[in-house]
Each structure stands twice: as C-alpha cells, then as structure tokens.
C-alpha cells in the first residue's frame, strides 16, 4: 500500500484528509449515531470549531440556505469561549486517537495571542512540558523550539488562526483581509505557541498573496485556504435578505475553481505547507487541490452529507495514486511543474 502520510510542522498525519473547522463535530455525531466515530475518527487530524476568547451565542436564525452547487452559512462563531473550551472540550479532544488542530478566532489582532497562550498553558498542564502557569516562552525559546527543540505535546496539537470568518461584524475576516493586521495577529500567536501554527486565509480579498506572505514571515508554519466567500441570498417571497445575519459565507462545489486558484497562487508565492479546501466532494477534487500545491486537504460542507467522507476520500486517494503509479510527492505541486 502506498504511503499517504504527511507532516505539517511537528504534526504527522497518516494521510492528507482532514475536516474543515466548523463542519464536523465528532462528539455530536457520536451522541446521535454511536461512539464508533470517536474510536476511529474519519480524519487524519481533527479540527474543532473556532473558539474565541469570550463566549458567543452566534447569529440569529435562519443560519443556512442551500444554493446552486453549495450553501451559504451565517453561523457567527457560536462557542462557549476559551475558558469553557479548556475545561469541557479539551480533555475529550485529547482522548481522541488523532492529532488535533485547534482553531481560534479573534476580534482584534491581539486576541489570537491571548487565546493561544491560554491553550498552551492548558496543554502543558495536560500533556507536560513546562509549568502550566509559567511565563510565556521568550522569542528565543520559540525560535529554538520551532527550529526542532519542541515540547512533546506539539506533536499532538497544532493551532489554526481563523482570520477569515465573514459572519462576524468586526475583526476576524477584516484582520485576514489586511496584511499588516494579519502580521500582528500571527506574530502575537507565534510568541505564545511553539507548535504547528496554521493561518486560515479569506478569499474575500483582491490579492491573497501579500496576506499569505505576511502570515509566513510572521511565523506561520502552514497556511490553510480558503474560508467561505461572502455572499447574499434573498427570501424568494419577500425579496429581503434570507439569512438572520443578512450576508453569509458561500461554500461547496460552487467555490472549488475559485479555491483552486487561491491555492495555486499561494503555493507559488510562499514556502510553507498548504491545507487546501473549498468545495471538496470527491477524490478528483483532492487530487486537484494537491496538484495545486496543497499538502493536506480539508473536507467542509460535503461532510454534512456523510461525516465519514474524509476517510473514504483518503482510501480513494491511495487507490488513485496506485493507479497512476505515483507517490504523494509526484502529486503535490504537479500543476506548477512542466
């Protein structure tokens, strides 16, 4: 069998297929359909939904609507806040037999560092590697750590900065739309987080490359893209905005060609691994994102049809590579090679 394993910073994934944040809640699926999904999660690494510094109720309903080849959502990052996350979510997340990529949102660039620091302290407590309430590592320590001398827990847990949610009224996406603010957010989080640091970019920009470069220069060890495209759906009858949050984020097959273009352009411009996403439903989509330069691929809204889809796509990726006689490195970045 072909070796599908990939590394994202200190995280080792048995294959490239993960979930997109906010689209798979393993514990909710388990509560409804049984615990089997916890014993063998259908992803190589699990990405929980965005957590923010303070609790948030999320946006008013209706929050979702189907459109041609996709859907719009205006969920608005409901979550219990980082304190409740550390107390209630983290222990059961750490019991999963997969690496984790915790996803963090913020409403000002400085919030990312605060949440990252809180999560790091909690992980040091749970998994060892320094006093839980010790001081933040110095920038030299972080540099040394990123250079290879990492605490053991960083092999289990990475961090993804969501600077790209279109469904909140301040911060988040407006940070990710601005290279300067992205730099501040990433530098701040990097100073608190020695492990894998993924920055998740928004496609709602004229040119994503300067933002990607700012993220990489500020210490991002990987970039994920894309988050949803801001859109609008009207109520068919009243002809007023349908969603409670007025606008929403478009995802699904409708955005795949757009998302591929973003991955292709960023792959050519920065030197960190990419996690590609946007409309993945089939193994063909996985091949295309990887050919554009993605080292890993996230399944988002298509997982609503079947929470086990990422595992199936991983199996099909193995078969597709075998069929072509390729290794993963033959595939990744192929679209850029002549």
């Amino acid at each position: 069998m072909i070796d599908l394993s990939v590394s994202l910073g200190p995280l080792r994934l048995s294959h490239p297929l993960i979930n997109a944040s906010g689209t798979l809640d393993l514990f909710e699926v388990a509560a409804g359909l049984g615990d089997a999904i916890l014993a063998d999660p259908p992803v190589a690494a699990y990405v929980p939904k965005t957590v923010t510094l303070k609790p948030r109720p999320g946006n008013d309903p209706p929050r979702i609507v189907e459109v041609e080849a996709g859907m719009l959502n205006s969920i608005g990052l409901p979550n219990a806040g980082v304190e409740a996350f550390v107390a209630d979510e983290l222990p059961r997340l750490l019991a999963l037999p997969r690496p984790l990529i915790l996803n963090v949102g913020g409403f000002a660039p400085g919030e990312y560092a605060l949440v990252a620091a809180r999560l790091r302290r909690a992980l040091q407590l749970h998994l060892g590697g320094g006093p839980p309430d010790g001081p933040s590592p110095s920038s030299d320590e972080i540099r040394a750590a990123v250079g290879g001398d990492l605490p053991a827990w960083t092999a289990r847990v990475g961090l993804e900065l969501n600077v790209s949610c279109p469904n909140v009224h301040s911060g988040c996406m407006s940070i990710g739309a601005d290279p300067g603010e992205t730099r501040v957010a990433v530098e701040g989080a990097r100073a608190e987080w020695p492990g894998l640091l993924v920055v998740k970019l928004t496609p709602n920009v004229t040119n994503v490359v300067p933002v990607a470069q700012a993220a990489a220069e500020a210490g991002a060890s990987a970039i994920s893209l894309v988050n949803t495209f801001k859109g609008l759906v009207l109520d068919r009858v009243t002809l007023r905005p349908y969603l409670g949050g007025v606008t929403g984020g478009l995802s699904g097959p409708a955005i795949k060609p757009l998302a591929l273009r973003f991955v292709y352009e960023v792959a050519a411009a920065v030197d960190v691994p990419l996690i590609g996403m946007g409309g993945v439903t089939s193994v063909q989509d996985v091949l295309e994102f990887m050919a554009c330069g993605a080292s890993a691929v996230a399944v988002g809204a298509a997982g609503f049809r079947d929470p086990w889809l990422p595992a199936r796509l991983a199996a099909e990726l193995g078969l597709a590579l075998e069929g072509r006689g390729w290794s993963l490195s033959d595939l990744v970045g192929r679209a850029h090679r002549r």
Binding site: V6, R63, F304, P307
Partner: protein, 310 residues
C-alpha cells in the same frame, strides 16, 4: 521556474509509514446507501419505502437525512420516520421543491443515501408515565408523517395501559388528505388491540365536508386537564395548538419542529431556533421534538421563533 524548488520541498512526505490507522472505508459509517423498495403516490404526497441494510430502527419523531444518489442538489433533506419494518424504512413526503421532487421520481432499485435515525423523537415512555387522560395527536399537512410510526408503537403497548387516543389531522384539500390511506390500517390495528381510537380529519377548503383548520377539531374535542398533545405541523399551527392547551390548563404537549438543516447531526449549528427563554437550540439534536414549555413558554404570550418554519 523559481517556485518549483519550494513546491517539491513542500510535499513534506514522510519517509516512513506512521503507526496510525491506515485509511479505509469506515465499517461503522452511519450513512447508508439504501435502495428504493417501493414508491406509492397518495394524492399530493407519496410514501417512499427504502431497504436500508443495517437500519437500526428509530423512535417516532426521529428523522433521517435523505439524498438521492444522483441528486443535483448539494444538501440532503430531512424527513420524519414514517414506518419501519426491519431494514425497510418508509417516509411520507410532500414534493415542495427540487429535493423532494427528485425523491418523488426515484425508481425502484435506485440508490438513496440515508443518514439516521437522528434527533430526539416523542418519548412515549415519558409521555405515558404521566398517565395522561387522553393522547391527542395533532398533525397538519405533511406534519402527519411521524404519527404512523407512533400509532404502530402504541400498538405494541398493552391495551390496558393505553389512554384514549384522539387523532386530529388537518389538510389543505382532499388531494392532500389522500395520505390518510397510510394511517387507516394502523388505526385499525390499534383498535383491534382494544384501544379506544378516534380519527378525525378536516380540510381548509371544505373539500371533505366543512372547511376548517385542525385547531377547529381540537376546539370541538375540547382539551382538558390531563390531556397530552403530540403535534407536528407548521410552526403557526403548533403555536395555536399550544395556545389552546394553555387555555385548558393542566395539559402537557410535545411538538415536532422544523428548521432548515445541513448536517442533521449537530455539526453545523445551522438549524437553531430561539427557545422561550431566549436561548438557541439545535432542532436536529435537542429536537426535533420539544416540550411545549421549552419552545413557547408556559404563559400565553406567543414567542416568535424566527427560522422555525419553512
């Protein structure tokens, strides 16, 4: 080109295999590919019967997400369990848009993806434990769907322990009312067990006699303390039913509610409705069956539930 070196380096392929599970098709997937066993048109609705290998069985009021294997739509659609028999599971469906119309055309043998059973249904143990005076079942339009399975479940209870069952269905017109054919055998079976069952139907356009709403029937039947209401239909109907329950006093009620859904399992936070206390709840996980008080409150002040209807 300059980017090439970076791209090759970026593949980050591990030299050695990891001690992690190898990718494979998960054996425990809760998503099944079922086959259409039969499709029966009943007026403006139809019953879709699927053969779903390994179907674990669900409770009345629980639902499943269905998507035709050749669907042109992105998301699956939610339908209440209507009847089940081993690995055969049926749904009563009203074609109202592209997703339901695809299913209305599904031929015998064609594949339909089924995710379920999902959510929390009518908890008959809890409801009967309250020793209700009568079970008043109220269905509006395609909201009658879950009550076939409910009647079947009641049939398995000892007749002596069953209260009187009053079934009140409201339809738009006599064409919609043709779905009654899917309920009458279940009512007969329940009666044959010795239970007292009353079934009454009314149409908005008067095509089955007089014109009226299901609440017209409910007023005639007259609610009183000790009655338990089990209802499913448009949000406005549920609200009106609960207003009558509150007016009678001492009535308990459970409502199966709707909301636009994407995942049906609690992953997406898309299907929330606002409860009487102002909090938001996922219809797919906490519901779709809710206690009346949770949704509408215990006092007679109607509370708007945005997004709770379709």
């Amino acid at each position: 080109m300059a980017a090439e070196v970076g791209l090759a380096a970026r593949a980050h392929v591990n030299p050695a295999p990891e001690l992690q599970p190898s990718p494979r098709t998960p054996p425990n997937s809760g998503c099944r590919l079922a086959r259409v066993a039969a499709r029966q048109k009943l007026g403006s609705m139809f019953v879709l019967r699927l053969r779903a290998p390994g179907w674990p069985g669900g409770a009345p009021g629980q639902f499943a997400l269905l998507r035709h294997e050749a669907s042109a739509r992105f998301l699956p659609r939610a339908f209440s369990l209507h009847a089940q028999d081993g690995e055969l599971v049926s749904f009563l469906i009203a074609p109202v848009g592209p997703g339901t119309e695809e299913l209305a055309e599904a031929g015998v043998g064609e594949g339909v993806h089924v995710l379920g059973p999902l959510g929390h249904g009518f908890d008959l143990t809890e409801i009967l434990a309250g020793t209700p005076r009568r079970l008043v079942v109220v269905g509006g339009g395609v909201g009658v769907a879950p009550f076939r399975l409910l009647l079947d479940r009641l049939t398995t209870h000892a007749a002596a322990t069953l209260p009187e069952v009053v079934v009140l269905f409201g339809f738009r017109d006599d064409v919609q009312a043709e779905c009654l054919a899917a309920f009458e055998p279940a009512v007969d079976r329940l009666r044959a067990r010795g239970a007292a069952v009353e079934l009454e139907t009314i149409c908005e356009d008067g095509s089955l006699g007089r014109a009226g709403l299901v609440t017209t029937l409910l007023q005639e039947v007259g609610l009183s303390a000790g009655d338990a209401i089990l209802a499913c239909g448009a949000h406005a109907m549920c609200q009106a039913v609960w207003d009558l329950g509150l007016a009678a006093g001492g009535v308990r009620a459970w409502f199966s509610l709707e909301a636009g859904m994407a995942c049906g399992v609690g992953s997406c936070h898309g299907c929330v409705i606002r409860l009487a206390d102002g909090s938001l709840a996922k219809v797919c996980r906490r519901g779709p069956v809710f206690g009346a008080g949770e949704v509408f409150g215990e006092s007679r002040h109607p509370c708007a539930v945005p997004g709770g209807d379709r």
